[in-house]
Amino acid sequence: MVRLNPYELAKVFSTALCQPHTSIRDLTDFVNSVKKYPFASVAVDTYHFPLLFELLKGTEIDAACAISYPLGGLQIDVTADHIKWAVDHGADEIDVVMNMSAFKSGKYDKVKEEMREYVSAAQGKIVKCIPCTDYLTQDEIRRVARIMVETGVSILKTNAGYKQVTKYDDVKIIKEEVGENLKVMSAGGVRNADIALGMIKAGVDRIDSGTPFNVLNTLSTAMATYTKEELETIANRVEEMNRNQPKVRGKIYD
């Protein structure tokens, strides 16, 4: 029997709602739908965060806060202050965008120092750092992954979304470069289960989707394109991903 189903898949999925027209009503409806599944985390902006925190009380879904999002354009100390604010307000996970300008300018020591500062500001909470791989060459992706390993960042989250897309190869080369020393979360362009399963085969540790219900609803269609053996392998991998998931709020789902 294949153990892959929407409920199992949700355990290794994160989602977010950060649009310029998101109202309190939209967020409440969204989170109430999300709560029907054991998702790993939900991320929102700082203004929405206290509400998200309330809505997720009593669940094992991590409350994540998007910081310097989606451009990474704040000064380092200001970004760190935002992170501290989020942690003070109960954030389990921090989704912070890297200072891309410094990285693209070759200031790798500065980038490393910046990430360490974010990790320190997060006071033990999970830090997902976003380098926006969509704008990076393969060499740059390898380099940023190597830098991140040395900083205590928990998860490399590939992109911030908003039309940025993660390629299967991005995930593969990051895993090739850093192995088990850094978790990889694919974010950007995972619109359906077909892409999600492709990401799992590429070696991802967690997946983010802005359209999580579409992913879950298309799972059976996507599974139809695989053999029973392949699905068994993917199901095993999903179990393993779930077991090794860094999470603050709850235990890893049994």
Partner: protein
């Protein structure tokens, strides 16, 4: 007929570069160019202000910091903090994104206090409130402008120009005229977002734009120089 010189246009253009992946070298040349063309300001992300300050020193070109950009739904205390730090680093003007979430949730008090917090932190520097017209009904458009006015901001601005939002649209002359109808002479108006041709910039100018936000400022000036020959 209205005669618009290249100098007139340069005085209206907030020359904009909000590319998060722009290198220091690219930003440096962008600032040098702004200096050469004597744009009234450059509009940039907060982590570029210090560099801008160094390169633009003594040039007369002012620095605009984009705050809570582009989502706007930042906690008010953090938005004020961003503003304070932008000012410390050398920002001369603040372009803040309105609290979109509060606006779309009908929490008008929050929207107003959020702007007031930024105005206070800006400590006398002009504050522009970006209302993102793409996602507003005519009623919310008007409400947003009026709140910005009550909160004593200096400008209303049409859009972040962040084209990656689904459903985003470029700013039109109609947006500018509607803003001017709402705020009258009490506030200035800045169209921004998708103004990429000189014809569009001229149309905005004639419609009464007090500033024009664009990354194509150099093209506007060069076209006007050619036309005046």
């Amino acid at each position: 007929m209205i005669k618009i010189t290249p100098e007139d246009m340069a005085k209206r253009v907030d020359q904009t570069n909000l590319h998060e992946e722009a290198t220091e070298e690219e930003m440096q040349s962008f600032f040098e160019e702004a200096k050469k063309y004597q744009f009234v300001t450059v509009a940039i992300l907060p982590n570029q202000i210090k560099l801008a300050k160094r390169v633009l020193k003594g040039s007369g070109v002012k620095i605009v910091a984009a705050i809570a950009f582009p989502l706007g739904s930042t906690s008010p205390e953090l938005k004020a903090l961003e503003t304070r730090r932008a000012v410390e680093d050398g920002a001369d003007e603040i372009d803040m994104v309105i609290n979109n979430c509060a606006l779309h949730s009908g929490q008008y008090d929050v929207v107003k206090k959020d702007i007031e917090g930024v105005v206070k932190a800006a400590n006398g520097r002009p504050v522009k409130v970006i209302i993102e017209v793409s996602f507003l009904t005519p009623e919310l458009f008007e409400k947003a402008c009026k709140i910005a006015m009550e909160a004593k901001a200096d400008f209303v601005k049409t859009s972040t120009g962040f084209k990656r939002f689904s459903g985003w649209r470029p700013t039109t002359v109609e947006d500018v005229l509607e803003m001017k109808r709402i705020v009258g002479k009490k506030m200035k108006v800045k169209p921004a977002g998708g103004i990429s041709t000189t014809e569009q910039a001229l149309a905005m100018y004639v419609a009464g734009a007090d500033r024009i936000g664009a990354s194509a400022g150099v093209k506007f000036i060069e076209d006007l120089k050619k036309a005046s020959k």
